[in-house]
Symmetry: C2
Amino acid sequence: MAERWTVRFGGFGGQGIVLSSVVTGLAAVYDGKYVCQRASYGSEARGGKCKSEVIISDEEISYPLIDKLQVLVIMSQQALDSYIEELEPGGLLIIDPDMVEETDKRKDVEILKVSAAKTADKLGNRIVANMIMLGALQAKTGIVSKDALIKSMKDSVASRFVEINEKAIESGEHIVEKLVVGDKTSSEG
Amino acid sequence: MAERWTVRFGGFGGQGIVLSSVVTGLAAVYDGKYVCQRASYGSEARGGKCKSEVIISDEEISYPLIDKLQVLVIMSQQALDSYIEELEPGGLLIIDPDMVEETDKRKDVEILKVSAAKTADKLGNRIVANMIMLGALQAKTGIVSKDALIKSMKDSVASRFVEINEKAIESGEHIVEKLVVGDKTSSEG
């Protein structure tokens, strides 16, 4: 059986939710994997509901239905409410605690809290919060290699934003390194 | 019944096939539409088989199976061979005639030939061939507005490439304007 990961990103328009799946997918390709990426959004460019997914496999895949959702990366309350039930038991929930209310709907998943928005503000631009999430996702799961993630990010963002996005990925990684992960783990980033 | 468009892009890695669907999808959002975008690719970043799709609707959609494929934008022979049968009767096939052999497998679809690669080379960078295809797609179908397409492109490419990508979109539009569209239509761009 091929190793296979499914990750969903949820938030609102303008948070870079589509880009998160594209960057993760391209990174996986750089790692030699096969990828199916998808996103659903509208009708407002900013503020509308947005989700995206990436499926990464050692073997060729076409457009599958999601059977198991192993990782859920959440940047809004609405996304949390909409998708929390779909995360598989034992799965990983990565949330920005400043963007969502505490949830105790699920006791059977691991929760990683990443203060992405606050950390992005400290770096100087809220827009890189998604890359902080990707850095944390990478460090926590190893679903893609760090080198591939950095390369993919560089391919995908405007050149003037490469430096701050690289810092954002590093910050996400540091948040994961600093904490002892568990159900009640939190971080200030 | 809501108006709904499904477009598939097919080619190989490095042609910007994923980006084509992302840019078209974001443009549709700027036009006030709902979008489902997806892509499948790997395992090589450059040269591997790649397809992407965008579904645009007046109404909210989640991840649907493709029931009708109305437009197929093709940038490689392999993609043409793989997807030509899925285009609905009366659908639109946009091909780069320099990247594919002549196909006469389908007599029941409209064929628009857009010399995207050659035109991109004239503009100075082969990488913008995908935007020439998008300019032609926009001009031919009106599936997204031109203003939204330009805005979406600007959001999605490195700032140093905005100017050449805008020229590429214009070039694609001009190719469509210059020709009388029909089964046997061709263009030199």
